[in-house]
Symmetry: C2
Subunit: 186 residues, 2 copies
């Protein structure tokens, strides 16, 4: 049986989400892996309330992850300076159940810089020496790609983090970084 | 030995982060728990590069979580429509290693509404019937508090999700929802 890779990412929000899943699976096959996409579970949502339908999808995704050997997470910033929280959650769950976690981002800009841009420069150096926003909340300044727990996850689990500066119209669709993760995993 | 609760949240970014940890630990003690705060590990960061220091802190946090029985996560929206990704990662890791995960938010507004506000109303109903943003990326519409994986995590792990509408100047500091999580856990 081929090693199974859970394909975490905001890809499921794309207009052509299913097609993106197929593209990723074909790349997985090229490198000797089986790609597992969140939409693979055929959830029967008939008759369920909105909340119950969501919980059913969530439960199936948990089970898909637990049945894999690795996660490759798409952590391009999504609606804010950080990665999509659903993706980040799946990195955590994957690491917790013992999977190797790789991640790629299509925006190769330091997290501190991205956060300052998101805050429109409304950042100051506080008396404790830390960068803080208008609410006084500190801004991480570790020269990393996102919150330190994400990079820690990748390193601890034995995975790889790949940065790729994609063109502006390809930040959610470029698969250069994804393919590099597969190369490194192999 | 008292059941140990990992105190996940953007609390560590507050100007008085250590004091917030002490407040949470006192509340934990009141309900028969031992609170474990991310800053509890005395990390010796001397001589480490910025990245290595961050990875050392991340490693210690992973170990703290693995040594606990439950997580209570503060998921108030942080720099965007969703919770802090560090916190979300820790929910995932905690669930993965078998902990009960509770969460509380101090903003009791539906995720879809919050996301539309974040996007300044730049949201449309696409031909597939889904709400989408200007990039065509779908907006979750499940009548939940955040991405569906977070609520799924709480339900599957046997935890509780508490919504509390805090005053604007207390969204990052109110502990009403936190204390309710402790009550429910007990």
């Amino acid at each position: 049986m081929l090693p199974r890779i859970y394909l975490a990412g905001p890809d499921v929000f794309l207009p052509d989400a299913a097609e993106m899943g197929d593209r990723k699976k074909r790349l997985c096959a090229k490198y000797g892996f089986e790609g597992v996409y969140p939409m693979d579970s055929e959830a029967d949502l008939d008759g369920l309330s909105s909340r119950d339908a969501a919980l059913r999808i969530g439960a199936l995704n948990h089970d898909l992850i637990a049945g894999c050997d690795a996660v490759v997470a798409h952590v391009t910033p999504f609606r804010g300076p950080s990665a999509d929280v659903g993706t980040v959650y799946e990195m955590g769950y994957g690491a917790g159940v013992g999977l190797i976690v790789c991640a790629y981002t299509n925006v190769a800009v330091d997290f501190t810089k991205r956060t300052a841009e998101f805050l429109r420069g409304n950042v100051h150096r506080a008396s404790d020496g830390r960068l803080r926003d208008a609410d006084g909340m500190a801004i991480e300044n570790w020269q990393l790609v996102d919150n330190l727990m994400l990079e820690s996850c990748v390193v601890r689990s034995g995975g790889h983090l790949v940065l790729h500066a994609a063109a502006a119209d390809e930040v959610f669709t470029s698969l250069e970084g994804f393919e590099e993760c597969l190369r490194l995993l192999r």
